[in-house]
């Protein structure tokens, strides 16, 4: 039996993209590159200690005192290990990746619940994205976008998009039909059914998706350091290449600290009512101080 030339087809497809559509990829690459470096230089500009306090303040707003204290200690430790600039690089990359992933995945998840066709097309794509070994697309990504943060970012997207899509879809399909029916019976439009009933009721599921997205984002950004993604991942990679166990452990520890902070943070993000409440209290206190 002759071998079907799938591999050859992919090869020539990538070559076609590279040669004839390079302006598209250069464009995307340029925009993302600029966004990333702008964010990086902004965060670099803030003195690390001030930034630690600022971050801990935000963490306190969203989570508990205990988590805030541990985060503070963890961040100080990373600073002390002289990994602060690498932390910022990985943080920016993760944040941009997660934001892009959510902008894409939540609407797709919603769309899947509205259209059988979309649902049927999306599931195999998600399976593909989640199970295709990442090394396979790291190389073409580097070929198309060059070495640097952008291909790493895009490879991360491939990995981070599926969970929030699935969990958004799952959350909305699990909203009881009689509640949607009741909403419609009281004159709600399709959009109102979505915003007033389906999204609030599927929020826990969607937030689990956000959490997954962040965690997978971190792990993938580390892998993406192989094609030039900067940050803590590269520290670890370099350490492995040099067989430098001390440096590898320090970098790895910093990644664990970052992952734990982001995990706890994103778990608590769904309780937005409490967050608003705390925010309101602080605002009032500030007003009291001013007067």
């Amino acid at each position: 039996m002759p071998k079907i030339p799938i591999g050859d087809a992919v090869n020539s497809f990538i070559n076609f993209l590279k040669e004839d559509l390079s302006w598209v990829f250069d464009g995307i690459s340029g925009v993302l590159d600029n966004a990333i470096s702008a964010l990086e230089s902004f965060l670099d500009f803030i003195p690390p200690i001030a930034l630690i306090f600022l971050l801990c303040f935000i963490i306190l707003l969203v989570t508990t005192k205990g988590i805030t204290i541990w985060s503070f200690v963890g961040l100080l430790l990373i600073y002390d290990l002289e990994l602060w600039s690498e932390l910022i690089r990985i943080l920016v990359l993760v944040l941009v990746a997660v934001i892009l992933a959510l902008i894409i995945s939540i609407p797709v998840g919603i769309w899947m619940t509205r259209s059988k066709t979309v649902e049927r097309i999306t599931f195999p794509i998600l399976d593909f994205m989640q199970t295709m070994p990442s090394f396979v697309y790291l190389v073409p990504a580097a070929m198309l976008f060059g070495i640097g943060p952008v291909p790493g970012l895009l490879a991360t997207l491939v990995f981070a998009i599926p969970p929030p899509v699935r969990l958004t879809y799952l959350g909305i399909t699990q909203v009881p039909g009689d509640l949607k029916e009741a909403a419609r019976a009281f004159g709600a439009s399709d959009r109102q059914v979505l915003t007033k009933v389906e999204l609030p009721l599927s929020l826990p599921s969607i937030m689990a998706g956000v959490n997954q997205c962040i965690m997978l984002g971190i792990s993938m950004v580390v892998i993406a350091s192989m094609i030039g993604a900067p940050g803590l991942g590269r520290v670890v990679l370099t350490a492995v290449n040099r067989l430098d166990m001390a440096m590898g452990f320090e970098g790895g520890l910093a990644i664990v600290i970052l992952a734990m902070i982001l995990d706890r943070f994103s778990r608590k993000m769904g309780e937005y009512e409490k967050i608003f409440e705390r925010f309101g209290k602080i605002k009032q206190k500030l007003k009291g101080v001013v007067h």
Binding site: L179, E181, A185, G187
Partner: protein, 395 residues
């Protein structure tokens, strides 16, 4: 003019309703159509009218298509064929915007399983219909709070639905339906999920509420007693068709066919009776101006330990107990004013179930008093017992 006119409504579940419709036209039964085409005929061509201010009952066993009919009226389900007119406007021809306005302004719906929004407070649940219409927050809360007071849940507005009991949940459901001040209430077995005592209470409340608000109500139930109690007219449904439409008494006295006859026979008709129909005239009543001696004599005559007291205008003044009268007679007093106690009273239209409940609690006889305070008769243990002895008797 009729408020709601349903003509020839059919609803077929499945992807080939056409085939099923043809068979339906040729007179095949629901079951035959299901085996031949795989299509479920939930509603197979029914027509009825509901008058303004009337409570219309859709009655039938499980699966007879009641919920489907009620959902076609506001097009939560698209009718397969047929027409539905509300206030002369064809519901099935409305476009999306008209339909939203129609649902939001004309119709309030109450569901069997409450269908309250768990993520919203009681107040926000009640305000939902106003919210979808874009009524500003202050106004919709004000209106919703008024309604909550009316259903007796004023103090509960900040609670979530899962903190309420079943009866309270359905009060919220009712309040949510009333908040938009609709002309029409669609109620799909609203009280079936409640336990009997609460159900009875809610029925009474709906009755007294309806006396004030005079909505047009379509009420689905499979409980004939409930239908008879609440409805002005009812339609008996079977397998997606209406067997008979009429008032309870019409259906009882002239069942259209064997099925209806069997259906209504199952019901304990004594449950339809009211205080007026079972009260007796007590052997003796005391006039306000008569003295304790006479009171004692009269009580001896009819072998009771109490006597109802009326004024010259035939209005009920109270009750006198024999032990009090005896004490008074010993002291040699003339007037009975000092020993006059408040009597337990019921309205002539109070249902027998409520009478059972009240007498069961106190064991005392009840005076039947109309809206003007006039004494009409008494319901005593003896009248209840004789009713039970007679067994199932027709109205």
């Amino acid at each position: 003019m009729a408020k709601i006119v349903v003509q020839n409504l059919t609803k077929i579940y499945g992807d080939e309703p056409r085939k099923a419709l043809e068979l339906l036209r040729d007179g095949y039964s629901k079951e035959e159509i299901l085996t031949r085409t795989g299509q479920t005929v939930a509603v197979g061509g029914i027509s009825f009218e509901v008058k303004e201010g009337e409570t219309f009952i859709l009655m039938g066993l499980s699966g007879s298509g009641k919920s489907t009919v009620i959902r076609c009226i506001n097009r939560l389900l698209e009718p397969t064929t047929g027409s539905i007119c509300v206030d002369g406007k064809r519901v099935e021809e409305m476009d999306k915007r008209e339909l939203r306005a129609f649902r939001g302004q004309k119709i309030g719906m109450v569901f069997q399983q409450f269908a309250l929004f768990p993520h919203r407070t009681v107040l926000d649940n009640v305000a939902f219909g106003l919210e979808t219409k874009g009524v500003p927050k202050g106004e919709r809360y004000e209106r919703s709070e008024e309604i909550l007071v009316r259903v007796g849940l004023a103090g509960w507005k900040a609670k979530r639905p899962d903190e309420l009991s079943g009866g309270m949940k359905q009060r919220v459901g009712l309040a949510r339906a009333l908040a938009v001040d609709p002309d029409i209430l669609l109620m799909d077995e609203p009280f079936s999920a409640l336990d009997p005592l609460i159900r009875n209470e809610m029925q009474e409340e709906l009755l007294s509420l309806q006396q004030r608000i005079k909505k047009t109500i379509i009420f689905v139930t499979h409980d004939l007693g409930e239908g008879l109690k609440l409805g002005d007219r009812m339609a008996i449904m079977r397998d997606g068709r209406i067997d008979q439409t009429g008032t309870g008494k019409e259906i009882f006295s002239h069942p259209a066919n064997d099925y209806v006859a069997k259906f209504v026979q199952k019901v304990d008709v004594t449950r339809m009776l009211t205080a007026e129909e079972i009260m007796i005239q007590p052997g003796e009543i005391l006039n306000l101006l008569e003295g304790p001696q006479l009171a004692i004599r009269k009580m001896e005559l009819c072998d009771t330990d109490y006597i109802f007291v009326i004024g010259r205008d035939r209005k009920l003044k109270g009750i006198v107990w024999v032990k009090d009268a005896l004490k008074l007679a010993e002291k040699g007093e003339k007037g009975i004013q000092g020993i006059l106690k408040q009597a337990d009273t019921v309205h002539p239209t109070t249902s027998i179930e409520d009478i059972y409940l009240r007498m069961g609690r106190t064991g005392r006889s009840l005076a039947v008093v109309d809206g003007g305070g006039n004494f009409m008769g008494a319901v005593t243990a003896r009248s209840i017992l004789s009713l039970l002895a007679e067994g199932r008797k027709g109205p």
